[in-house]
């Protein structure tokens, strides 16, 4: 898995599913394998499993909200991004995050 992502917004009605869909579409266009979880009004949707979390290179959080079940991602690089940016420029967000994580991994 190239990355996993979680989207969440104050009411969890509009921005959460919009950002999730935008990231999903962008990942597909970039040829990346990704799973996007929504933490919104309907609870956890498309929940990331522990195995998926472990196999992902990084976790992208499109939110300024408190995220549930962060224990799954222990030891993973986590990047927080403004949810509006995820809707507006999803490809750019993914590319930037991937680059940042790659650079970090090279340093180690």
């Amino acid at each position: 898995m190239d990355f996993v992502a979680i989207t969440s917004c104050p009411a969890g009605l509009a921005h959460t599913p919009m950002a999730a869909k935008a990231l999903e579409n962008a990942a597909k266009e970039l040829g990346l394998e990704a799973k996007i979880e929504q933490q919104g009004a309907m609870g956890l949707k498309n929940e990331i499993t522990l195995d998926e979390a472990k196999s992902a290179k990084f976790l992208l959080i499109g939110s300024d909200q408190k995220i549930e079940k962060m224990g799954r991602f222990e030891g993973k690089p986590v990047l927080r991004v403004d949810i509006n940016m995820c809707i507006k420029k999803p490809k750019l967000v993914i590319e930037k995050c991937t680059k940042a994580v790659d650079a970090k991994l090279r340093e180690q």
Binding site: L13, A14, P17, A20, A22, M42, I87
Partner: protein, 152 residues
Amino acid sequence: MTNIFTRENIFLNEDLNSKDEVLLFLSKKAEQLAIVDDYSKVYKAFNNRELESSTGMQDGIAMPHALNDSVKHASIIYIKLKNKLNDWDTFDETKVNKIIAMLVPVNGEKEHLQILAEFAVSLINEEKRQRLERCATIDEVYNFLNLNNVEG
């Protein structure tokens, strides 16, 4: 989208000049349409949501929403303004002239939340947003928003 969105929920060519006027208009219409018990409660809920972060999106569209126990059934109200607003932040810097408001009861049915979610998702498609701008009559808006209720 039965119930959630009817022709009575569409308002075109409205002369409202600020975000606050729009939110008050929406709240009062919601009470008249028997979507909510008490307009002042949803007015507050709309405002509280805006305080967290602006619901202005792209291409002049804002999607304010109120999740409140005064809401009786999940509904969408659409307003197209006569002019453009200067005080509703969007993330592409466009000025808001199209408002798609969502009213949601507390403990609303998942099915309805799903419809609202799919509806919001469909608007990430740029071509669809531009088509909405071109809808000039109540029938055009009604048909567009109903057909639009399919993921694109």
